[in-house]
Structure formats: C-alpha cells, structure tokens
C-alpha cells in the first residue's frame, strides 16, 4: 500500500510540475500581450502589432502544451485519487466545474479569434479578444488556486450522515482567505516568468545585434512590468502568504524554516542543511530574531518549532520543503536585485548599451521557472501528510484499486510523452525566436 501511495504521489507531482511550466508562461505573457496590444492601439504603430503577433505565436504554443498537459491533471483526481475525489468532489468539483464553464470556453474561443481573426476583427476587436484571452487565463488560475487553497485550508464544508464532505457555503469556498493571498502570489509569480522570458529574448536580440527595435521594446516593457511584479511578489503577497502558513499550519512553517526547537526570538535561517535525524540545522547562517519579527512583527515572539508537534503530523519530507522554500525566497531576492538594477539603468537611458546587465537578463531565463516550481513544491509538500489539511490524510485519499504496477506503467508513459512534448516545445519556440518579429511568416500558423 505504501509503495502504491508513493507511485501515485510521484505521478501527480511529475505531471503537475511539468504542466505548470506552460501556464506560468501563458498567464504571464497574457498580461504582457494586453500591455503591448494597448500600446499598439494607442500609438497606432505597426511595430507593436508585430510584437503582439510574435509573442502571440509563442503564447499559442505554450497554451497548447498547457492544455494537453492540463487535461491529465483533471482526470487524475479520479484515476489516482479516487477516495479523495469521492469524499471531496462535492466541494472541489464546484471550483473545477466553474473553471471549465467560465474559463476554458472563454479562453479556447477567444484564443482562436486572437490568433486567426486579426484581419476580420479590426484593431479594437482584436484588442478585446486579447483582453478576453487574458481574463480567461487569469480566471482559470483563480479557480485552480481556489481548489488548491481549499485543500490547504478547508472552509465552507460540512460532513453529511455518510461522512462525505459536502459544500455548506459557496461564498466561503470562493472567498477562502487562503485564496485571497495565494491567488495574487501565484499570478504575480506567473507575471515574473512572463517578464523574464520577454526580457531574455529582448536581451538576446540586443546582444546579438538583430531585431534591435524589437529587442529594445521587449526589454523596456519586460523590465517595467517585471520590476513591479518582483516587488509585489515579496510585499504584500509573499509576506501575507507566509503569515497565513504561520497561523494555520505552524508545523509547515517550522519545516520551511528548518526550525526544530520552539524559541522566543527565533532566528531566520539563510543557509544550512536540516538534519532530521539529529533534529538540528547544520552549518547555519542566521539572522537572529528575524523569524519572530517577520511572522509576528515582534522581535521576541515565540515561534513554534517542530518539537511542538507530534512527528506523525510533520511534513513527510522536511528537507524538500526546507530547500524548495529557500530556493524560492533566494531566487526572489535576486530577481528584485536584478530588476532594480535594470530598471535604474533603463530610467537613466543606459540599459540598452549595458552588456553585462543584458547578459544577466538573458541568462536569467530558467530561474523564474525554478522559483515558481519550488514555491509550488513548498506548498504541496508542506501540506503533507494531509491531502486536505487537518481533514484527510494523503494515504486515505489514494485509489485503492489501482496497483503500483499500473501506476508505474502510466507514469513511465507520461515521462516518455512529456519528454517528446518538451523537445517539440523548445524546437518550436527556438524557431520563432530565430525568425523574429520583423518579417511575417508566410501563412499564419495554427496553434490553439
């Protein structure tokens, strides 16, 4: 049983992690496409329309991969987590159903119009289609985060006579306090990815001396939006998210921070390796009292360590939670530094000629993906050993009928298929970047 549980968890972790590489780019780019399309509409310059078409193609490729890798996730609730679905479907089926009705139909309809309909729709109509694609992808994100938030912090439910979880308040579900901070945090994280990808492509063009007008536009727009995004990611959204964890899941906070002992004036660990057997942090580099201050706004506040909780309630993989959290925060801090320098140079009019900073922007491309992924792993692995926090253990949610062997079969199948998908994605995007926005490709390509 434990063996099958591990395979089912790996299965979902793999498919979900791979899936989220694509929506974070599409949701981020959707915002930037609205910015570029608005500039096109206001200035009337064809330059911006070409920029929109160029990024629209990359958006379309990423969107298609997001859809094909997203459908398996929706199925996997039932296939691999049947007992969880049976118990909780009445609640999370609501948010997933609303995602289908309000977001997927909107997105798929207007993406087609956005990609194929520019001539027929005219400038204003095409702007509206762009905005609706943005709205659709961000609404989709909302319902997914609402689903995830309910698993982190179940609200608005009751247990019926058969011990099934039933919805008792629709608005409590939709306005879950966890969602209200997790949603902006996730979406701004996506915007950070979108901005770094756009800045990276722009920097590549500027450094290689091609497509210069577009390189400048991409870097300018991406750095302006990106600076705002990286700051908002820390304050208030990241900070508030941390305080929610501290309040509702203190044991998760202790695992994230590598805090084994409850103490007043708890230090903030910057570096160090958690040793769960010996229950201590090796080679610690800490800021004294900082954790107490960040969590409770008092330097001497008591922060509960892992020793305050029974080990069966500890997250099942404490090093994973600790490292992912530190990778996320560490990268987020570097993003702020890089975007601040780039923003300052842009303001002084020196960015386009500053090769070291352009190099950094170009090479930064993979890091927002790593930060977003690490953030999700922190949240999901931090929730363990619960599948619904405080209500249902992960081991009680798995499909009892599906054996480890069958789950391995499909996991290996997905690994093979997704390797092919990843290669095709990189190939297609590279080709678009090689080609650049200056000349139009003969015949519009079709992706959706």
């Amino acid at each position: 049983m434990d063996d099958a549980l591990t395979v089912h968890r790996l299965h979902f972790a793999f498919t979900a992690t791979f899936h989220y590489l694509f929506p974070q780019l599409t949701m981020g780019l959707a915002l930037l496409l609205v910015v570029l399309k608005t500039m096109a509409l206001r200035t009337g310059e064809e330059h911006y329309n070409r920029a929109v078409r160029f990024w629209g193609k990359i958006f379309g490729i990423s969107f298609a991969l997001g859809v094909v890798t997203g459908i398996p996730l929706e199925f996997q609730f039932g296939t691999n987590w049947a007992r969880f679905s049976r118990a909780a479907g009445g609640v999370i089926g609501q948010t997933l159903g609303m995602e289908g009705m309000f977001a997927f139909f909107l997105e798929s309809t207007f993406l087609g119009l956005f990609l194929f309909g520019e001539k027929r729709l005219g400038p204003v109509g095409h702007w509206v289609a762009t905005v609706l694609v943005f709205v659709g992808s961000w609404v989709s994100g909302f319902f997914i985060v609402a689903t995830f938030s309910w698993m982190q912090h179940p609200v608005g439910y009751a247990l019926d006579a058969n011990n099934q979880i039933v919805l008792s308040s629709f608005w409590a579900l939709v306005l879950n306090p966890w969602t209200l901070w997790a949603y902006p945090h996730v979406m701004i994280g996506a915007a950070v990815t979108g901005c770094f990808v756009m800045a990276s492509v722009g920097a590549f063009y500027l450094l290689s001396g091609r497509q210069l007008a577009y390189g400048r536009t991409f870097v300018r727009v991406a750095v302006m939006v990106g600076l705002a995004a990286v700051l908002l990611q820390l304050l208030p959204t990241g900070d508030m998210q941390g305080r929610l964890v501290a309040h509702h899941q203190p044991v998760t906070l202790a695992a994230m921070e590598g805090l084994f002992d409850t103490q007043q004036g708890a230090p903030l660990a910057i570096l160090g390796q958690p040793d769960v057997e010996k229950r201590r942090l090796d080679n610690p580099l800490v800021i004294p009292r900082m954790l107490s201050f960040l969590t409770y706004r008092r330097w001497s506040a008591e922060v509960k360590g892992l020793d305050s909780f029974p080990p069966q309630d500890w997250p099942s993989n404490i090093p994973l939670v600790y490292y992912c959290y530190h990778v996320m925060v560490g990268l987020g801090t570097m993003f702020i530094a890089l975007m601040a320098v780039a923003g300052w140079l842009l303001w002084r009019g020196k960015l386009y000629g500053s090769r070291p900073v352009l190099w950094l922007l170009m090479l930064a491309l993979p890091f927002p993906y790593i930060a977003n992924t690490a953030g999700w792993i922190t949240a999901e692995a931090g929730r363990q050993p619960w599948i619904i926090y405080g209500l249902m253990r992960t081991r009680d949610g798995v499909s009892a009928q599906v054996s480890a062997g069958n789950a391995w079969f499909t996991l290996i199948g997905f690994m093979g298929l997704y390797t092919v998908l990843g290669i095709l994605f990189l190939f297609l995007v590279r080709r678009e970047i090689e080609h650049g926005p200056e000349q139009e490709v003969q015949g519009l390509t079709a992706e959706a």
Binding site: E74, F75, F77, N80, S85, G89, G93, T109, Q401, A448
Partner: protein, 346 residues
C-alpha cells in the same frame, strides 16, 4: 434535483460526442477522402479553429460529473484507469499531429502526422464506444462502490470481465462507423470539389454500416442489460429518444441522396444525440450499473453530492452555459462557410 443533474451531465457528454465526433470522424476518413497535401490541409482547416473548443466539452462534462456525482467520478475514473490514460495519450497525440502538420511544412513529415492523426482518431472512436459499452453492460463494483477493470481478460461477459469483451468491441465498432459517417458529413459540408464528392461517397457506404450496427447493438444491448427494455416498457414516453435516433438515421440517408449537406449533418447529430440519450434513459436511475450485485450499482441517489451544492451549482452552471452558447454561436458564424483548398488563414 439529482435527476436534473443526471440529464445535464448526459446532455453535456452527448454534446461533446456530437462536436468532437465530427473532428474525430474527419481524422478517420481524411486519408481516404483527401489524396494530396492541399486537400488534406483543407480537411484540417475545416476543423482547425474548432476542435480544441470541442474538446473543452469533455473537460466541462467531466467536471460537472465530478461535482454532481463524485462517487461515480471516483469509481469510474479509477476503475477505467488504463483506458482513460490511453485516451489521454491519444488525445495528446492527435492534438500534436494536427498542430505540427501546420508547423513543420516538410514533405517528409506530412504523411507521418497524417497517419498519426488517423490512428489516434480511429482508436479514440473505438475507445469511446467501448467505454459506453462498459457503462451500459455494467462494471464489477464491490460493496464500497469501487472496481478495477483490466483492458481485457477472455473477451467474455461475466464476473472477470475486461474493458474489451465481445459486446464492448461491437459497440466500439458501431461508434467507429457512426463517427466516420458523422465526420464525412461534416467534411462534405465544409469542402468543395473532389474532397466533397469523396466524403459523400464515404458517408453513403458508411450509412449502411451504421444502420446495420445500430440494429445489432440494440438487439445485443436488450439482452446484455435487461434494465434498458424494462425501463422502456415501464415508461413508454421514453421511446422518444430511440425515435429521435431513428429519425436522424433516416434523414441522414434522405438528405444525403438530395445533396442537402447541412441537413444530412444535422440528421447525424440527431442520431448520435438520440442513441446516447436512449442509453442514458435506459440506465436511469443507475449511472454506473454493477454487474456483480444490482444492489451495489451507483445510482443518482447514492452517488450524488449535497443538495445545497446542487442548487448552487445550478446557478453558476446556467450562467456559464448561456455564455458558452453565446461564444459558440459567435465563433461558428465567424468561421462559417466552406474552406477553400488553398487559403491562408482567416
């Protein structure tokens, strides 16, 4: 309330089959009706901007089932674990073949993507038919409402049954024929010239297959699942569903002979809707009948979620559906008319 949701889920799934059915069907027939690259591209363009929107209906239908009847969703998805995963891979493969054919304009690869498009479409049609066959025949549910079926065992009906037995294979074949004709009628509707001619020829031949298999499948179903004829006998108004299917079937042939392509296609839609609603009517109140012990069947009563959730769901579902119909009308008007054999985008 649960009856209403049963109907809504059944209709959403039926709409999915009607809509995605024509692009699956287009995939099944395209190797035969389109002989050169230009013609193949015309077939692809006839479904190009619409197919992914059609697949959203599968997601929306699945999600609606999830929230209204979580026990059915959980039992069905875990019990049909392997075929569902294979369906997912086929959907991915099919999407890839459509998109990449457009991206890689290379003579070497075009036949490869065409073959993949054909194979994935064909297998999906058979799998969907077999899935319906499984639901109608009943699955080996235990007293906790769970089961697991291997892909096949000995191809016989009985306690140790697999996804594929002789009955579900015949239903799968019927689905294959039905969707091939449905797709042929769609392609005929959307194209001109040689492709149009050949599609109508495929539809004419295929119609006999559909008619024959309808007869066989109906006869077999009445024996395999006695609940269906029993329910029709108890509530004779339910004959409207098979009547709709028959009317659709004959109007297909009638309008096809008169080259009224649009009406023939609508006839095919009516046929599919009629067959699926007949099956749903025949099974009700069961959603997933048990082949082990009728008392363990999952019905709308023992698998539903709370009443409050169903009432709230009805509010947002209605709002959502109004929006969906709005988009649908808008897009189909936008992409209405025939596609030409050589045309670049819209």
């Amino acid at each position: 309330m649960e009856t209403l949701w049963f109907c809504l889920v059944a209709v959403m799934i039926a709409v999915y089959v009607v809509l995605d059915g024509y692009d699956l069907g287009a995939g099944i027939i395209h190797l035969f009706v389109a002989r050169n690259d230009g013609e193949r591209r015309a077939v692809l363009r006839s479904i190009g901007p619409l197919w992914d929107g059609n697949e959203v209906w599968l997601l929306a239908g699945g999600a609606t089932l999830f929230f209204a009847f979580p026990a059915v969703y959980a039992a069905g998805f875990s019990g049909f674990y392997l075929p569902l995963m294979i369906v997912l891979w086929l959907l991915v493969g099919r999407g890839l073949s459509i998109e990449f054919r457009n991206h890689l304009k290379n003579a070497i690869w075009a036949p490869f993507w065409d073959a993949m498009f054909f194979l994935c479409s064909l297998l999906l049609a058979v799998f969907f038919g077999a899935a319906l066959g499984n639901v109608v025949r009943g699955v080996p549910l235990d007293e906790h409402g769970a089961f697991f079926e291997p892909l096949w065992t000995n191809f016989r009906l009985g306690a140790e049954t697999g996804i594929f037995d002789w009955y579900t294979i015949i239903v799968g074949l019927a689905a294959f024929c039905t969707l091939a004709v449905h797709g042929a009628l769609w392609v005929a509707l959307k194209t001109e010239g040689a492709v149009n001619e050949r599609s109508r020829a495929v539809a004419k031949v295929g119609w006999w297959g559909v008619a024959g298999l309808t007869l066989i499948v109906t006869g077999l179903t009445f024996r395999v699942q006695p609940q269906v004829p029993a329910r029709l006998a108890a509530q004779p108004w339910g004959y409207v569903f098979p009547a709709l299917a028959l009317a659709g079937l004959f109007s297909m042939a009638w309008f096809l002979a008169r080259r009224e392509e649009c009406r023939a296609f609508l006839g095919s839609c009516a046929y599919i809707l009629g067959m699926l609603t007949s099956a749903a009517f025949g099974l009700y109140p069961c959603v997933l009948p048990a082949s082990t012990n009728p008392a363990w069947s999952l019905t709308v009563h023992n698998s539903k979620t709370g009443d409050y959730a169903m009432r709230v769901g009805l509010v947002w579902w209605t709002i959502g559906m109004v929006l969906v119909i709005g988009y649908f009308v808008f897009v189909n008007r936008h992409f209405a008319g025939k596609v030409r054999t050589e045309e670049n985008g819209y």
